[in-house]
């Protein structure tokens, strides 16, 4: 049990997917202008990532490894993720239309969110067991959501500040992300 807690902490804080491993930065900059979309995006990623992590692990072990087809990993994983995203989209459209509208274009974009694909590949590379895969997927996704929400909070404040013209929008966003990343960087000392 202690191992799982340690793994979770390492995935959420020490190896934060967004700020330390640099995965999933496009939605990070795109959906972080408003708090609501940030929360929605974070939740969508948690849901998709846990399912994708579990399913890709099963596919890797029982299909790709069993038949020696590891070189097809990329194509198999991306198809699984794409169909999952489609499913989540239909589910949200039916049951939570308000959230569906809020997420807008960014929900289909989870397909090309490298955080999802990246975590699935990390799980395989680290040779995690099934339980470890589920825990790490959930923690990485939580870390993603945490960073996204923190960043959205900062960004809402930046709107009120007077930013020099060339630095506006994405540019100041990246510099802010750098400072936030510095804060997360300090967790490395814990490990």
């Amino acid at each position: 049990m202690g191992d799982y807690v340690l793994l979770a902490i390492s995935c959420i804080l020490v190896n934060n997917i967004l700020l330390i491993q640099y995965l999933g930065n496009c939605p990070f900059l795109g959906t972080s202008k408003k708090m609501e979309t940030a929360v929605g995006m974070g939740m969508a990623v948690v849901f998709v990532l846990v399912m994708a992590g579990a399913i890709t692990w099963l596919i890797e072990v029982y299909i790709l490894k069993a038949f020696g087809l590891e070189y097809l990993r990329t194509i198999a994983f991306i198809l699984v993720i794409a169909s999952l995203v489609q499913f989540v989209e239909m589910f949200l459209k039916k049951s939570i239309p308000a959230l569906y509208k809020g997420l807008g274009i960014f929900l289909p974009l989870i397909t090309t969110n490298c955080a999802v694909m990246g975590v699935c590949l990390i799980n395989i590379n680290e040779e995690y067991t099934f339980m470890q895969t589920v825990v790490s997927s959930f923690s990485y996704a939580t870390g993603f959501g945490l960073a996204l929400v923190l960043f959205a909070g900062v960004r809402e404040r930046i709107l009120l500040a007077r930013v020099p013209k060339p630095l506006q929008d994405t540019s100041i966003g990246l510099v802010t992300a750098g400072l936030l990343s510095l804060a997360f960087f300090a967790f490395k000392g814990m490990a």
Binding site: L19, T111, T112, P166, L167, I172, G178, F184
Partner: protein
């Protein structure tokens, strides 16, 4: 066709240079630019995938139904990414190890999918090749520029060669994650400054 082939090629080098003009494909650009060598390797891999997927998408654009086009694009791109992955394993193994999971992640690089959707699906094959090369080379220039900046200040070397001599204290902030964000943000600001004149 309103634009010539040369124009399709050169627009990727400045007017639409990724990731500065098109804010797409940020993750690989932040992650692999710890050194010039990594940036260059990644850039070449992306050029390969971009050009070949552009060609195939352009050839098949009349056959692919528009409802399922994204799925088709992804399969085409994934195929070429696997080709690159296997080629790098065979001929550039040390670089393959350094780039790690960012090679398979080219498949979810928005630049490649973006060009397939925005350009190759609507244009002929020659224009698509030019576009692929233009955007790909533009992307490589950005990767090398950012990689160079970070390597020179973070490690005191350029492409493995020492720049400042042995007395230089490396500014390791630049090599680590926070430096990547700040550096890219400032470069973006410089580009805006240069472009607004």
């Amino acid at each position: 066709m309103a634009k010539t082939i040369t124009q399709e090629f050169t627009k990727g080098l400045w007017d639409e240079i990724p990731p500065f003009r098109l804010v797409l494909g940020l993750c690989p650009i932040l992650a692999v630019t710890k050194s010039v060598e990594n940036g260059l390797g990644m850039g070449v891999a992306v050029i390969f995938v971009l050009v070949f997927s552009n060609v195939l998408v352009s050839l098949l654009r009349k056959i692919i139904p528009s409802q399922v086009r994204i799925a088709c694009f992804i399969i085409i791109i994934a195929t070429f990414v696997i080709v690159v992955e296997l080629l790098m394993q065979a001929f550039a193994y040390p670089l393959f190890l350094k780039l790690g999971i960012f090679i398979p992640l080219i498949v979810v690089n928005c630049i490649v999918l973006g060009r397939a959707e925005a350009f190759a699906y609507k244009n002929g094959i020659v224009a698509s090749i030019a576009d692929g090369f233009g955007i790909g080379i533009g992307n490589t220039i950005s990767l090398v520029a950012l990689g160079g900046l970070r390597e020179v200040f973070g490690g005191g070397t350029f492409y493995g060669m020492s720049v400042f001599g042995p007395s230089f204290q490396p500014f390791t902030f630049m090599i680590e994650a926070p430096g990547a964000f700040v550096c890219l943000g400032l470069m973006l600001a410089l580009m805006n400054l240069a472009g607004n004149k």
